[in-house]
Point group: C2
Chain length 295, copies 2
């Protein structure tokens, strides 16, 4: 069995090929749109959500080819949200993954359409490939991603985020925002990975608990890094939450307590995995990786 | 059997209730987003795509409750595209269906999220409700809407539209643009309506032909109306295509030839329906309605 770093690198490498294959080619009309879609998705990011999907798929012995497609769908939703989030009417950011953001490299109208088309493509992938022998189960997978992306999931979290600028949020409200904004898609990645195999109810319950902790831990660590790291290390504009007067775990708790919270969520995530045994090894290593990362 | 006008009014009325029920309530968090989604979808439009879905559902004896959900999914995609299309970085329009556009009534960031969340909701509807006894067939319905919405469908048509501003397009290129931009979703409405029942292959072939003609006819008539009607009658800004220096059937063919083209497409659409007999009566009446409309 490969060590964790080789497992991560191998998956990241193969997943990049999967994305290249599943995205429309840049020489197919409308070329500029397709090129901008590829620009916004390829060669970027740690692919945290896909890695979580792969690791969850190992728990249910899912076929890797199926998990790759489900992971791609989740990653396209994530990528579209970044493209729209970076636009001038939202965060107005010019740098993402060390490159100019989509609306800077292309233009705003193209960035708007790139996000829209990436979302459609995510649902196309989930419906056009066989991801489960049971079509009814696969329909539930489509629903899972749709709910996670929509107004009660990621888009809803962004709306709460918008409303919270300049507001004094209490911890439960901040948590509610992130459960939607970041947590919903992380949960979807984990559950969709598992649903590509034969997921038993007890496994899903454990994975739900793990997903809940990881979704919050991911955001807490993000806030700490945003406050403490520099732009070159992050590959995106650092310190922008404070600049935008947005409430974060660091502004609310202070850096020390925020790190403490990440550590407690980390332990709770590992506890949740215990009943799953050895097949959950990669999920455990990913929890370490996400909480201890430096960028 | 009710006359056509009663059939239209009855369906429009019931469909408004369906949309009210399927959209998240305005007092559910995040309230502002949900209110803006309802603002952008309810009380507006002729509901041409839903009417086409209802009429196509009659051909395959589909259960009306199923067609209503499929029609709502298509209408949400249409509504999201209007919200994004009206934004300053696209058409920059302030008036839609006689009301301020979403980004004027709310703000740009909210309009962006409204569009995003409406698209997610469309796929949620298609996957969370039973629309066909065969789940595999229903997955195909999800794929159909995803392809129709994405970079090879509606969003792609809008990208071609963007690139064509100030360009001299030939008729085949203009047609390609509209087959994607308007035609894809009209085709999806008709086929999804039919797929809610037991659609036979011969029926689908006839409906495909009808959909192709209607998609183009709809756009040709739109161009004629945009050039000739006034803003008050249209409920949206008239003459904006010419103002935006966009190629249209009227600028390319002149108004007389454009009307002639609409009339030929109308005849071809009716020809396509002939093998379907009496159950296609509403589709035939809708063809008359769409081509002869004044707004």
């Amino acid at each position: 069995m490969p060590d964790f770093q080789s497992w991560v690198t191998g998956h990241q490498h193969r997943f990049e090929d999967v994305l290249r294959r599943l995205l429309p080619a840049g020489d197919v009309a409308p070329q500029r749109l397709h090129q901008a879609m590829r620009y916004s998705v390829l060669d970027g990011g740690k692919r945290v959500r896909p890695l979580l999907a792969f690791a969850a798929g190992e728990v249910t012995h899912a076929e890797p080819e199926r998990v790759q497609v489900a992971a791609a769908a989740v990653e396209l939703i994530h990528a579209y949200s970044l493209v729209h989030d970076d636009m001038p009417c939202m965060d107005d950011d010019v740098l993402r993954r060390g490159k100019p953001t989509c609306h800077v490299e292309y233009d705003e109208a193209t960035a708007l359409l790139v996000g829209d088309a990436l979302q459609s493509l995510a649902f196309q992938l989930l419906s056009a490939h066989c991801l489960n022998d049971d079509a009814a189960r696969q329909l539930e997978m489509v629903k899972l991603l749709a709910v996670a992306s929509g107004s009660r999931g990621m888009a809803g979290g962004q709306a709460i985020d918008l409303e919270s600028v300049g507001e004094q949020l209490a911890l439960p409200e901040l948590e509610q925002m992130h459960i939607h904004k970041t947590g919903a898609l992380i949960r979807a990645a984990i559950l969709l990975g598992a649903h590509c195999g034969k997921a038993e109810q007890a496994q899903l319950v454990a994975l739900e608990r793990y997903a809940h902790c990881m979704g919050l831990a991911f955001q807490v660590v993000d806030d700490v890094l945003d406050a403490e790291a520099d732009t070159a290390t992050l590959g995106k504009t650092a310190g922008k939450d404070a600049d935008n007067d947005k409430p974060t775990y660091v502004t609310l708790l202070g850096a020390r307590q925020a790190r403490q919270m990440a550590s407690e969520l980390h332990s709770a995530a590992l506890d949740a995995l215990r009943p799953l045994g050895t097949p959950a090894r990669r999920l455990q290593e990913l929890a370490d990786f996400i909480v201890l990362r430096k960028y």
